[in-house]
């Protein structure tokens, strides 16, 4: 069967069968009505209708008809994704979105926390004065009054520690009020969705920002809500590494948009499994939400807005540009750590660590958002117009984030953020030569989508063979002989070509065997080459004379 024909058939499906299949398999999480697992359209189904296989769409638990206008707009977006519906199972929209429903509570909590801080600031100033007066009185005749001047000033100066937190909360409160006004003015606009991605061993949820249905006015209103880099950041900021450049100054990093805050809070809620961490100030809201039961494991994907150099939200086409990142939760000693892994450039999401006061409503929790201090790129496309789901196209950030999440979902042990770029789940999917010590081609020489296959076994085997071929090449180049270099060039060219073969996911299994055979065949060629070198060592006379 020709590859084109096979691909065309793979993209055919029976929507009706897919729908009935879902009816039997959709399940609702007790804690969150968003999440479903559903069977993808049966691969054995054959339809006369030329409809692409697509993720199933739901509004709460109701399957959305493919002909629905909202479905069409969604498909316009998801058709551009590089990840295939084999892995991208479903998208669900909630009627009562948390990013709307929780705004009022957030406002109350932030206002209460702000008031509390201001009250405590005044109380501190007053207490310092009372304390100094008491000390002076108690030490009368023993300590000269002037000796209290410096300690008194030092204690008074500490009140300045309140100012950045008050500034953050004041700014956040203003942004929240604007955001509340925005959601009230746009009651029919769906701002969020949850995607479910699944492979043979893991299920990963993505909290997505829904920009597809926004009109120009709504886009303008949404991105105008906050002032980039409006205030000094505070929070339980911690990042890996020891050296920081000037551009990593937290004060210059962007502020999170209220919508991002709600997304990240909900994503972290999904990750945490104990009721020890409150998302909001418990004293200020009767509906204070405890970060609650995890349902999908320790890794989740979340969308943030892409920012320009000044921290403002970027526009792509006429929509806000979004970017998908990975959040990984782990308990390290007494602290809950949320590691941020950016599939394209770690600099794009490092500001998450400087916005903890906005995300958690307080910063005295034993929870940390950790970002790498070093700049890393995991995956990049040499041609931004050549990103998509075809075998000869590059993958997008959602796709790479999903594959990283699949790998991390099975990871055992505590991850140090400084070592994260040497972890297998990252090394497996990177197309950056300086992250992998075995990657012998760059992203132009070979696309090698098989290295980012959804199937864990395929990914592991493909990368194992990549490493084996690289070591084989080292052995060849270490071998003596005048022609060894040109021989190695031939082998290297064939190795690269092998990884540049455009493959469908359905062909990956065979391709792995093909890579193995290729490795064996190289051994044979090398063996012949070694024999030739051995003969040439004595000038081709076999040493008989």
């Amino acid at each position: 069967m020709s590859r084109k024909k096979e691909r065309a058939e793979e993209k055919m499906a029976l929507p009706s069968l897919a729908a009935s299949s879902f009816a039997n398999t959709a399940t609702s999480s007790a804690s969150n009505a968003h999440v479903y697992t559903s069977a993808a359209a049966s691969s054995s189904s054959v339809s006369l209708s030329p409809i692409k296989v697509r993720p199933q769409l739901f509004i709460n638990t109701t399957l959305l008809n493919d002909k629905d206008e909202r479905a069409q707009r969604t498909f316009d977006e998801t058709d551009k994704y590089s990840i295939t519906p084999t892995t991208f199972k479903s998208r669900s929209f909630a009627k009562n979105e948390p990013v709307r429903e929780e705004v009022q509570d957030r406002l109350k909590a932030a206002a209460s926390k702000l008031q509390e801080l201001k009250t405590r600031e005044k109380a501190y100033t007053s207490s310092v004065q009372d304390l100094i007066n008491s000390l002076k009185k108690a030490s009368e005749g023993v300590i000269v009054i002037g000796e209290f001047t410096k300690p008194g000033k030092d204690l008074s100066d500490l009140v300045q520690k309140f100012a950045p937190k008050i500034a953050v909360l004041t700014s956040y409160l203003q942004d929240l009020e604007k955001y509340q006004s925005f959601v009230e003015r746009n009651k029919d606009l769906t701002l969020s969705y949850q995607d479910v991605y699944q492979n043979n061993t893991s299920t990963v949820t993505r909290f997505g920002i829904n920009t597809a249905n926004m009109n120009d006015e709504q886009v303008h209103q949404l991105i105008s809500i906050y002032n980039p880099i409006a205030e000094k950041k505070e929070g339980s900021v911690k990042s890996g590494g020891s050296k920081k450049s000037a551009k990593e100054d937290p004060d210059t990093l962007p502020t999170l948009h209220p919508l991002e805050v709600l997304f990240i809070s909900n994503a972290i809620s999904k990750l945490t499994s104990r009721g020890e961490v409150n998302a909001r100030d418990a004293s200020s809201s009767s509906s204070s939400t405890t970060i609650s039961t995890a349902t999908t494991g320790k890794v989740v994907l979340v969308d943030i807005f892409a920012r320009d150099d000044k921290g403002a939200i970027k526009i792509e086409g006429s929509k806000p540009e979004t970017h998908t990142i990975v959040l990984y939760a782990q308990q390290n000693k007494s602290a809950l750590q949320i590691l941020v892994i950016d599939p394209s450039n770690s600099d794009y999401s490092k500001h998450l660590a400087t916005n903890t006061l906005r995300v958690f409503g307080r910063d005295d929790l034993n929870i940390e958002i950790i970002v790498p201090s070093k700049q890393h790129k995991i995956y990049a496309s040499p041609d931004k117009d050549k990103v998509g789901s075809n075998p000869d196209q590059y993958r997008d950030c959602i796709d790479i984030a999903v594959k990283i999440a699949f790998g991390l979902d099975k990871f055992k042990g505590v991850i140090s953020i400084n070592d994260i770029m040497s972890l297998e789940p990252i090394i497996e999917v990177t197309n950056q030569k300086d992250l992998s010590d075995s990657l012998f081609f760059d992203s132009v020489e070979a696309i090698a989508r098989i290295r980012q296959a959804s199937d864990d076994n395929i990914r592991a085997k493909a990368n194992k063979l990549l490493g084996a071929l690289d070591k084989q090449m080292q052995s060849i180049l270490d071998y003596p002989g005048e022609d060894t270099e040109s021989f190695s060039e031939e082998i290297m060219a064939k190795n690269k070509a092998k990884f540049n073969e455009p493959l469908l996911p359905s062909e990956y299994e065979n391709a792995v065997h093909g890579l193995h055979s290729h490795f064996i065949f190289n051994n044979v060629l090398f063996s012949v080459h070694m024999s030739k070198v051995a003969v040439d060592l004595l000038g081709g006379d076999n040493g008989d004379s």
Binding site: S242, D309, Y379, P382, C397, K433, Q474
Partner: protein, 200 residues
């Protein structure tokens, strides 16, 4: 192809083979692939290879006596960008940091002063020469636009130098329009255009 082989030797920490290759060839462009050879040496904390690469680059691109030329300044800028990006990406030992400091450390004032010394014609010539395969300049209307060239070049280099992008950017100058823009492609050793990578 030799550059690819060199990058493999750097990736494998094969110091002697890397040195041999550098000695045998004087036309290797160490800025290719965002200076991947330098990045491997810095990532692996391989002082010997880094030293050999810096020596080679200095000998072939930063010749003494050419300090005032545009070519020298562009080569110097490219090296600094590559090394700075590598330092931003990998942990660097104290010993390696000492070795890198002379190539990276430049204050803003020094940098601006350097750039302000450009001769207009140097700017045009260097840019056209270095990127001839990727720009569309005809070179027929240079005089009418040359007055702004130095400032535009200086502004752009300054901007590039202070950008947070990890990849090295390249410059495209059009005398016809008098504009200078960032170029996403860079010629390889054979003069073919090689695309720079895009974040997703």
């Amino acid at each position: 192809m030799k550059y690819k082989l060199l990058s493999d030797y750097c990736r494998w920490d094969k110091y002697k083979k890397a040195i041999k290759l550098l000695k045998e060839h004087d036309d290797l462009d160490l800025t290719m692939e965002n200076g991947i050879c330098f990045r491997f040496a810095i990532k692996h904390n391989n002082i010997e290879i880094l030293n050999a690469l810096l020596d080679y680059y200095t000998k072939n691109k930063l010749q003494a006596g050419d300090h005032d030329s545009m070519a020298y300044k562009v080569a110097s800028y490219e090296l600094r960008s590559i090394l700075q990006n590598a330092v931003n990406a990998f942990e660097v030992s104290t010993e390696m940091q000492k070795m890198l400091d002379p190539y990276i450390a430049t204050t803003d004032d020094e940098h601006e002063q350097d750039l302000s010394e450009f001769d207009d014609n140097d700017a045009i010539t260097a840019l056209d020469t270095d990127h001839s395969s990727t720009n569309n300049s005809s070179g027929s209307d240079e005089d009418s636009h040359s007055a702004n060239n130095t400032k535009l070049t200086a502004d752009l280099l300054y901007q590039l130098d202070h950008s947070s992008a990890a990849s090295t950017n390249y410059i495209h100058f059009s005398p016809l329009s008098g504009t200078i823009t960032e170029d996403t492609s860079k010629p390889d050793l054979l003069g073919n255009s090689v695309f720079e990578e895009h974040d997703l």
